[in-house]
Subunit: 592 residues, 2 copies
């Protein structure tokens, strides 16, 4: 069975040595010194390792069951959820006004990595609740906020997002769920939603559904969508639970993975709902939720890669098979460990270089979010908005690839469910799909975000890369191994952006044909920047003489691997982008 | 539920327009005219489409069950197997001396694609039988051949390969299964084998296990391995079945996919076995089986990609979601079909360009095998031996990627088992692992095959590419779109081979660190060559005025996509190879 070792040292390195968070001017960050973050992460890591990780395979094997409308989660989920709630972990990043701990999003992200690595399916119950919390907090009336948020922050009540319908996923303009206004100001919601994660379960007293629906007579398409709160049990004015609302789980989906999370068909049958924000402005409110969720899904891609990698590395150290081509390494054993073989080492390095780079990217992204939220810094907000599809799309594409690489190391044993390597692959697969399939992320990036405010944020990103290179170009070791490759990759990205501007003006297909390639190109440049920053911090650690020298040297070696073997992918991506629309759009639909 | 449409036209195009098989001088090929192959493929296609494909999801859902030592296959498998047997399909490529149809391997391969696309798990029962048949035919005594082969050709008895033990997969030198000589010339086999596909089932009267074991007192390691026939039921001298042998299925493995095939733990408890070939020479005999099996597994990777792609394309044409960015395409519908979106189109083109290129590669490979076998052409045999790890490793890596891309097109629906998209991914995943994990294929390619006979075969490959380019360089359209990119890719491959020769002399790790990259580089150059040859044939078809012009134009467009967007990956692979051992081997084992 897989185990989980919280990567505390690496998290601390990124937070304090690379991002230097407690020196930043973001409100609340001054408190985030190494002692404080160390204590929190250590505690969260223990829960992840000892409580959540052992339940991961239980969730996969047992799955959820539906009987007479009641959904049961796998054995142990309820107790673990209670423990998370009792420990105050559910409201870590939430507003103290509603009972949260008021910690910055950055800390929520660092802790989140640990929980999600340990048990993705379990953590979704809580993650979706926080997404629903954000949307209600940002858009609902004070009365609704006061009524629902405190219990959601504590996860006594959990939350869901109800967008998808059988005929409508990405294209929300097609949705048919109806919301009819009632005399008391509430609405009657009728329709069917599918793929509703945590739509019904036995972990909480109440479930607060956020539902997109159309009020009859409103505008066509997405401009006629409104957002509603539909609680499973009506909440009385005194906060006590009243009658069961007309919403029920009609079916559980059989899925490829995340079996521990209940994926429900939800039937709304004249159920009572409360409008969140303004009529017909539901999409905007939903986007609040989706943007946060997309960052969360990017984290999932990384977190699954991280735990899969750990276990594969352990297996490669323990499994004896064959001899090193350069001479026996384990003369007392019947064979050498797998890890002596260069190709095994290569795939482990691929995984390690991605996982550590992605960790820095995610924490930096969280810092930008805090800078936007808490400092009101619009530039940080804009840059994060630009990079959100990259975090979601690139990190989940690559995260999934890493789980496949990790599984491969086990040989035949990786295909047998017993080792758990298959579960990481099957679970990670969903992250490329939900919260906007990765093709939709690429479309969002190239079709919308790139040109936002006249391309201001992508220009700012280029300036940031340039600035970092200029600032450090006198450091000879950094220059050859890190800055020069970063500069080359950044030039590829600039050339791609230029191509989109010129070709995309004439033919939008010319830009969109290369959208996924650009998402990956962008992701690689960010990871290149992260590795250059980490290398600088690691070198400084070595020079200081107080850091763990071995750790810093390994960081440099892993970074060099990234720059030499993974970052050069930018050239291939650029070549594809430059080939434009013709190769992609050359066939008629019926010719496939 | 997925469906399957046999790609008959494309198979015929490769056989007759590209490979021009009936004009070749390989014995038996003169009979393979379009009428003949058309009739066979049409008939096989019907069985694949109407009988095997509908059972694919049944196999996945029901799996196999073990009760009191008896393994039951999923509903319908037995009837379908009987039908395959009755139709003579099981012995298509087998020797008429043993009741086979005596068809060339080429036709076996073309027909095999259809069966494997329709139902991978089902086809393994028959495929493994043919592998065991090959090993027995090449190495066993006439008495054993006469006793076992006729019933194996008809699949009245099926076959298995028993190599792996719990502690030993790739490294067969570690195996512990013992074979003790008996006075009557037979052996008593004792040991446990795992991951035995089709090890026990209810499809045939008898199961003929080929088992690797060590005769006590023999040499250490792989030089002390012998190969044995161990039948489930002892076969009497008159051919009737006698007593049950001491071999039994102890457990069925829970796997990620291919649930319709029984993957068994096999316990040999003093079971009676018969030596195949010489004592201690078992590995050589097993390699006969494995080489054929590796070509078969490459075919599986391609075949799963092919059927997954077909279904994804159909879904993309039918599912309405969003509007084309260049203007509404389906004004009467609520939305446009997915296929209007450039990024959806891109992933379909990726799949189509791979699938059609791989099909040509596999059929060309089969032709080389026939030329070696039937004509005794050592150059063809050597070239195929060099490319066997590429066929196995590259085609299954890419084939799996295609199934993931196909699944992605369905959005959330692809993650639900109901659509069948997940099954293609889960089933295809095994092809990267079994018959030598793909890292082992890369090691075989770079560590052994590349330098075979002084590098004679890779040089011959380069000459072949050069020859094709020279021969056609006056064709302006072919030159710019196909020959120039092929030349650039081939140069990358030559540079990589040069690097291995120079760096590998000093440090084997420097070559092996790039072994997987070389396997992919090689695969891309072969597919580039295949596409150039297909483009030439398609252009000739258009010029002739008698071929299906639309088909030929689509072939050219798909080929241009491959050359423009996929083939340039060779440069990235070369860059990685040139980075040598240092980035890959930089960390100590304990630092992962």
């Amino acid at each position: 069975m897989p185990t989980y070792t919280p990567p505390l040292k690496d998290l601390e390195f990124v937070l304090h040595d690379v991002l230097k968070i407690s020196e930043s001017d973001i409100p609340g960050y001054a408190d985030l010194d190494a002692d404080f973050t160390g204590a929190i992460l250590d505690e969260a890591g223990k829960i992840a390792r000892d409580v959540l990780a052992p339940l991961n395979v239980v969730g996969d094997t047992q799955g959820c069951t539906l009987e007479n409308g009641v959904v049961r989660t796998p054995d142990g989920f309820k107790q673990a959820f209670d423990m998370m709630r009792d420990g105050g972990w559910t409201g870590l990043g939430a507003d103290p006004e509603y009972g949260g701990q008021g910690m910055p999003y950055l800390l929520h992200t660092a802790v989140g990595e640990l929980f999600v690595s340990a048990n993705l399916a379990f953590n979704m119950y809580q993650g979706l609740t926080m997404g629903a919390y954000e949307a209600i907090r940002a858009h609902a009336s004070d009365a609704l906020k006061d009524k629902f948020l405190p219990k959601m922050v504590s996860c006594e009540w959990t939350g869901t997002m109800n967008l998808t319908e059988p005929h409508c996923g990405t294209d929300l303009g097609l949705l048919r769920t109806k919301a009819e206004p009632q005399d008391d100001g509430s609405f009657k919601i009728t329709g069917t939603k599918i793929f509703i994660s945590a739509g019904e379960h036995d972990l909480s007293e109440n479930i607060i559904h956020l539902v997109l629906a159309k009020i009859p007579g409103g505008p066509e398409g997405v401009r006629g969508i409104s957002l509603f709160i539909v609680p499973k049990f009506i909440v009385n004015d005194d906060g006590s639970l009243g009658a069961r609302n007309g919403v029920a789980c009609g079916n559980l989906e059989e899925k490829m993975g995340i079996h521990g999370n209940s994926t429900c068909v939800m039937n709304f049958d004249g159920s009572t709902g409360y409008l969140v924000g303004e009529e017909h402005k539901g999409l905007r409110a939903m986007f609040t939720m989706m943007n946060a969720a997309r960052l969360g899904v990017g984290l999932q891609g990384h977190a699954q890669a991280s735990v899969a990698y750990q276990n594969a590395a352990e297996y490669a150290r323990e499994r004896l098979q064959g001899r090193a081509v350069t001479g026996t390494q384990n003369p007392d054993g019947p064979a050498d460990p797998l890890i002596v073989h260069p190709d095994v080492r290569r795939t482990l390095m691929d995984q390690k270089a991605f996982v550590e780079g992605a960790r820095a990217f995610l924490l930096w992204g969280a810092m930008l979010l805090d800078d936007g939220d808490l400092n009101g810094n619009k530039d940080s907000e804009g840059l994060l908005s630009l990079m959100t599809p990259v975090i979601k799309g690139f990190l989940t594409d690559k995260g999934f690839d890493c789980t496949v690489q990790a599984q491969q190391i086990y040989g035949g044993h990786g295909y047998i469910e017993e080792t758990g390597a298959s579960q990481f692959v099957r679970d990670a697969r969903i992250t490329m799909i939900y919260e906007g399939a990765n093709g939709v992320q690429a479309l969002d990036l190239v079709g919308r975000k790139l040109a936002l405010d006249g391309g201001k944020y992508v220009m700012a990103f280029f300036e940031m890369v340039k600035g970092f290179i200029k600032e450090n170009e006198n450091d000879a070791a950094l220059k050859a191994d890190f800055l020069d490759p970063l500069k080359a990759a950044s030039k590829d990205m600039q050339a791609a952006a230029m191509f989109f501007m010129q070709a995309g003006m004439k033919d939008p297909n010319a830009a969109l044909a290369g959208s996924s390639d650009f998402m990956h190109l962008f992701g690689h440049v960010v990871l290149g920047l992260m590795w250059a920053r980490m290398a600088k911090a690691a070198q400084a650690g070595i020079d200081s003489g107080v850091s763990d020298t071995k750790f810093c040297e390994n960081k440099l070696a892993t970074g060099r691997y990234y720059m030499k073997r993974l970052l050069p992918e930018t050239a291939l991506r650029l070549a594809r982008i430059n080939s434009g629309a013709e190769p992609v759009m050359g066939l008629a639909a019926e010719d496939f």
